[in-house]
């Protein structure tokens, strides 16, 4: 079954970890193809994290309108997701995805 799933590393920072039981690093397994037949992308990952990893009922603090909430930065292998196609970026094995909130204060 190993070929049917993709393993990636997810990191949460800037206050987002609070939504995930204060866990900063997650090892996430995604199906190699999703229900609609395409490989999982960032938007899929966001929904997956809400469904399987989030320990807080306030899903809207992370996901809005099928993608990540505005004000949360996404870094794909340490590069701004805007350079990589944003939510449409198709995940590859061992990708490092960092979600960091800019919304929290000091």
């Amino acid at each position: 079954m190993a070929t049917d799933s993709i393993a990636i590393n997810v990191e949460l920072a800037g206050g987002l970890e609070i939504l995930f039981n204060n866990e900063r690093k997650l090892n996430v397994e995604l199906p190699a193809t999703t229900a609609n037949g395409s490989p999982p992308n960032i938007n899929y990952l966001v929904g997956h994290l809400c469904d399987h990893h989030m320990k807080d009922s306030r899903r809207e603090l992370f996901e809005l309108q099928g993608t990540v909430r505005p004000g949360i930065l996404v870094l794909i292998n340490d590069a701004d997701w805007e350079l990589e196609g944003e939510g449409e970026y198709e995940l590859k094995p061992k990708d490092q995805i960092l979600f960091v909130s800019t919304l929290h204060g000091g």
Binding site: G14, P70, L73, A79, L83, T102, H104, G105, G106
Partner: protein
């Protein structure tokens, strides 16, 4: 893969919100630092050689990045300035404790002296106690007034007359939006200023990160591996600011330059004398309404408010008089009408006989026994 627009060698990792430029990590860090340096030089944030300057430090991303960048610039461009971290402990359990630990680490990391000042020592009340008394609604007013003075007092205690704060472009754009939505144009103009010399204070305050996007501040902290703490005040949902923030983030998503565009709009309004003249005359009433909201708990403040109202209307008259004499500098005029005196209670500089912090503390203290009595009667 995109290559860096500056060096052309490295992989681009950042796309800059203000101009869409794609940069590698190290060119981004250089550009970010260079722009703060330019802001300091060009917007009149004078850093005088040999001066001791306070950085308002909370341990959050903005003040941590500010301190880190200033350390770099002070060494690179030889400002010859000594920076001191100044932190305020509001006395909110579970909120400030951890961030103060971060500030303590920052002080060591950046080799800066640290001064922590607590509300309890300054006012006799921690915010936890204030909230116990006044409830979660309206407590932000207390915190805001206390904090503003606390930074000033802390700086004065350190013999410092210039405080730098970590307000970024997003913070300022948010405040501009809020003031716009409230119809409060005088405040809108003031919040867009990069340097504020409050009429109630001789302290100069500047915002070197005024043109820095929140996004870039977070990226800078990330790429440099800076040690900061993210938290949300346990008492403040700050609903209105939250909405303004969400609106701003939505706008930024569609058009990234929106944030700085709003800041620029605010700046233009500072230099709109006709509007300033008309709206300033309306301002004291707004401010009094706010004060009245607080003093509902204790009527003892009524006399003071009436007095303020009289002062305000006499100011209005004098302003109108000066207008008929053909004065063309309404804004600076208005600022000089209110003279800075000293608070009768605490001796701290104040434009009123009793400073706002003392009025609030008095309200807190006065209502204390009556609550104790009513509890006994039950």
């Amino acid at each position: 893969m995109h290559y860096c627009a500056i060096c052309g060698i490295e992989r681009a990792q950042v796309i800059r919100p203000k101009n869409g430029q794609k940069l590698c990590r190290s060119c981004f860090i250089d550009a970010f630092e260079m722009e703060i340096h330019t802001t300091i030089l060009e917007s009149g944030i004078m850093l005088t050689r040999g001066e001791r300057i306070a950085i308002g430090a909370s341990g959050g991303k903005d003040s941590t990045v500010l301190a880190a960048v200033l350390k770099v610039l002070n060494e690179r461009y030889d400002y010859g300035v000594e920076f001191i971290l100044l932190s305020i402990d509001e006395g909110i359990h579970g909120y400030r404790d951890d961030s103060l630990e971060t500030v303590k680490r920052n002080a060591v990391q950046y080799g800066m002296e640290l001064c922590i000042l607590g509300y309890e020592a300054l006012y006799g009340w921690t915010m936890d106690q204030v909230v116990e008394k006044v409830g979660k609604k309206g407590n932000c007013t207390y915190c805001g007034v206390f904090r503003r003075q606390a930074l000033d007092r802390g700086a004065k205690h350190l013999n410092i007359s210039h405080i730098l704060t970590g307000h970024n472009a997003d913070d300022i754009a948010e405040t501009i939006l809020m003031n716009f939505l409230r119809g409060d144009l005088p405040r809108l103009g003031r919040c867009a200023e990069i340097i504020t010399a409050s009429q109630a204070s001789t302290m100069k305050r500047s915002k070197p990160l005024k043109y820095a996007y929140e996004k870039e501040i977070v990226l800078y902290a990330h790429y440099r591996g800076l040690d900061y703490f993210s938290t949300e005040c346990v008492y403040s949902p700050e609903a209105f600011r939250g909405n303004a923030r969400a609106l701003l983030k939505d706008l930024e998503k569609i058009r990234p330059s929106s944030v700085l565009d709003i800041v620029r709009s605010g700046e233009h309004l500072i230099h709109y004398p006709a509007t300033t003249q008309i709206l300033k005359s309306g301002m004291p009433h707004n401010e009094m309404n706010k004060d009245a909201g607080i003093s509902v708990r204790g009527n003892e403040n009524e006399g003071g408010l009436l007095k303020m109202r009289q002062v305000a209307s006499s100011q209005l008259e004098s302003k109108c008089a000066s207008k008929t004499q053909g004065t063309t500098k309404p804004q600076t005029e208005a600022l000089h009408i209110q003279s800075i005196g000293n608070c009768e209670r605490c001796g701290y500089m104040s434009s009123q006989p009793i400073c706002k912090a003392c009025v609030l503390v008095e309200n807190l203290n006065k209502t204390y026994p009556s609550i104790a009595v009513s509890v006994k009667e039950y």
